[in-house]
């Protein structure tokens, strides 16, 4: 019943993960990881695990993104490779 949503979400997750590695700007990579984390949250919710989805949304998409941005502030913004 929810199989098409599952397939489309898989494509989005792969696109976000590859984009966050390929992009050279570290600040943008941290933000794309935040979007990746929220797609993972929908996938957990679609599988029926609502507590795991809640934890993923609040910790990884919220606090995790803020801590990554605060860490990028301490180093250079352009990755060396």
């Amino acid at each position: 019943m929810t199989v098409p949503i599952d397939l489309v979400l898989q494509i989005f997750i792969i696109v976000c993960a590859v984009a966050s590695i390929v992009v050279k700007d570290l600040l943008s990579a941290a933000m794309i990881l935040g979007a990746y984390s929220f797609f993972m949250c929908i996938m957990w919710a679609q599988m029926g695990a609502v507590d795991v989805a809640f934890t993923e949304a609040s910790v990884s998409a919220g606090i995790g993104t803020i801590l990554f941005v605060a860490a990028v502030m301490k180093t250079t913004r352009r990755s060396k490779d």
Partner: protein
């Protein structure tokens, strides 16, 4: 009713796919900030429609409210960083 909700969810997924182009290829960080905020609001609706498909909306409303608040806080954090850099 189930197929109607499924069709609506797939339509919004297509819109998310259009915005993901700006996330990946957007020249500069300002395009990416605005695009990720837009992705956040659309996928909030997808979460609620998944709740309708399982016929238990009241659990999924809680997760949607949390993500709506944390999306705002993330945007403010990135904006503060960009203001400091200039």
């Amino acid at each position: 009713m189930q197929t109607f909700f499924l069709a609506v969810a797939l339509g919004i997924c297509f819109l998310v796919f259009l915005v993901l182009y700006r996330v990946v290829y957007g020249p500069g960080v300002f395009n990416r900030v605005a695009a990720i905020s837009a992705v956040g609001t659309k996928t909030l609706i997808i979460l609620l429609i998944v709740g309708f498909l399982y016929q238990r909306v009241d659990m999924f409303v809680d997760i949607s409210i949390v993500y709506a608040l944390l999306n705002f806080i993330g945007c403010v954090a990135v904006a503060k960083y960009l203001e400091m850099e200039r």
